[in-house]
Symmetry: C2
């Protein structure tokens, strides 16, 4: 089932593709803050920060606890787990992509050319 996961990833990545929201995520990873407090920290108006919070909540990235009139937020670390895993899937081959590309093109050349020598100046 890649559908639901893909949806989740979409929300999380869209949420993280913004400096303010990344900063908020970072802060809420350290300790809870109120919305008004975050607004002051980021130099943003309440409506502006409210929208950012909404994006993060829709991505299920923060938890909220209302006490009196103030809302305390904290990071929901679980939401990062899926992204973590998605990235990890690329890790096995860590590095060497340049050479892979070179080899692939050389291989294609070989098929119509029977010549796997390098034509570049790379290998004096």
């Amino acid at each position: 089932m890649q559908g639901a996961d893909a949806d989740d990833l979409d929300g999380v990545l869209a949420a993280l593709a913004n400096r303010h929201r990344r900063a908020i995520v970072y802060q809420l990873g350290l300790q809870p803050y109120s919305i008004a407090h975050l607004a002051k920290m980021r130099g943003l108006s309440l409506p502006a920060i409210h929208k950012h919070i909404a994006v993060l909540e829709n991505a299920n990235m923060i938890l909220r606890r209302k006490t009196g009139r103030t809302n305390y937020l904290i990071l929901n670390r679980e939401s990062l787990h899926e992204l973590q895993e998605w990235i990890t899937q690329f890790t096995p081959g860590w590095g060497s992509d340049e050479q892979t590309l070179e080899n692939y093109v050389a291989f294609l050349d070989g098929n119509s050319n029977q010549n796997s020598e390098n034509e570049t100046e790379e290998k004096g």
Copy 2:
């Protein structure tokens, strides 16, 4: 130096915050493909795919090798390394955010209330 890293992260996350580009990244993580090939795979026009490729290249996420008239692309796995590290910084406390938030609010209550008892049904 958080500045350059933050810029890189911004580019990578913005690039990944799109299904087509994530799919492209995934495919190019398996093997090289031409731009036209990717366009067919995604059911997109050449100009459309070209723009996506441009975004990925600006984020330094893919490598290109032009041979004849076709351009072969592959994933640049290094570009994901930084994001990987950024996410890992949140991992230490994996889980238990809900309780942290509860405790924090209870602590704030205690300061004006001298009462750290739980009002919830959680701890029969």
